[in-house]
Symmetry: C2
Subunit: 175 residues, 2 copies
Amino acid sequence: MSLRHALLGLLADHPASGYDLLKRFDTSLAFVWPATQSQLYGELKRLADAGLIEAAATGPRRRTDYAITEAGRAELAHWLTEVEPEHSRRNDALLRVFFLWTVDPARAVEYLEREARLYRQFGEALRQVADTVAWDESGFDRCARLALENGLRVSEANAAWAEWAAGEVAGDTDG
Amino acid sequence: MSLRHALLGLLADHPASGYDLLKRFDTSLAFVWPATQSQLYGELKRLADAGLIEAAATGPRRRTDYAITEAGRAELAHWLTEVEPEHSRRNDALLRVFFLWTVDPARAVEYLEREARLYRQFGEALRQVADTVAWDESGFDRCARLALENGLRVSEANAAWAEWAAGEVAGDTDG
DNA sequence: GGAGGCATGTAAATGGTTACATGATTGG
DNA sequence: CCAATCATGTAACCATTTACATGCCTCC
């Protein structure tokens, strides 16, 4: 249940409403942990019930700002340092690679070249973010930059792999 | 619903029972698309109902071998070449990085160094597989090797990143 | 006063995990 | 004959997605 802890992590910085948090899921966290509005509001209720956050202020339009509690900070720290992360593996694009032999090689090459392009584009998009966001020296921003660097390196590795793989498959046919 | 297509892909090679398929999910496909037994048997029924596979033979202990149908092959090809893969992003380990600033730097470095170790170990495990499996020149095995190469490169990139990130965080403290 | 954005909520469906259950067959 | 493995099934639960719904406030 990482959504829980993602919310705690965001609230550890400063109080925020569901609406605020949603925007952060749509920007910084979008690439590592997407969340929808319905899920988010529900989870906030549950976190409040569990005493990990509390309603700290209310504003116009039923706006409710939540703040993390001490129990919440403890839970966050526990999750960060003592809960083994799931190095989960589900990878739709890579799953397809196992079955590329069922289509003819030209199509397989097309698939891999397209993947390469997508990874390059993704890397480009991340570089844009890196260059345009006004990063400050807050803990959050510095950590976000570490995560972004991971995205750059991993998409580069994937792009290079896809180009290599396309060459492998192409080499078999015309070689 | 990639499980569906993963099953079709495996059956495209040759007929197999749910039990056989489960073993393949626990070995070759384990790292890209895990599946549980209950899920698998249910999906096979649904695939049969949809006419994409059919019960081809029965054996002892209610064993049922399924074979892919022409409709199934068409669906597989459609999925492979025309359905945009989900370049999904959920990454529990990387999500934590966003929140590392909430724990003290020594703990953050520990976390990153541990990640680096895990990625290296994972790469090692893959290398073992690469070296010990008796790969044949079948389409499936050749494609599986492409996928494995992806795993090697991506885990290497992740390991190198984690080491770099640990250095970044450590540098801030004692620098 | 109306449009657009703020702000939250609920319901249904899907996909996946965990746990429990059962019974057949084979090999030692 | 017993243990291990083969082989399938079902029920409950959890996380996530999609769609629908509502109402408030601000700015023009």
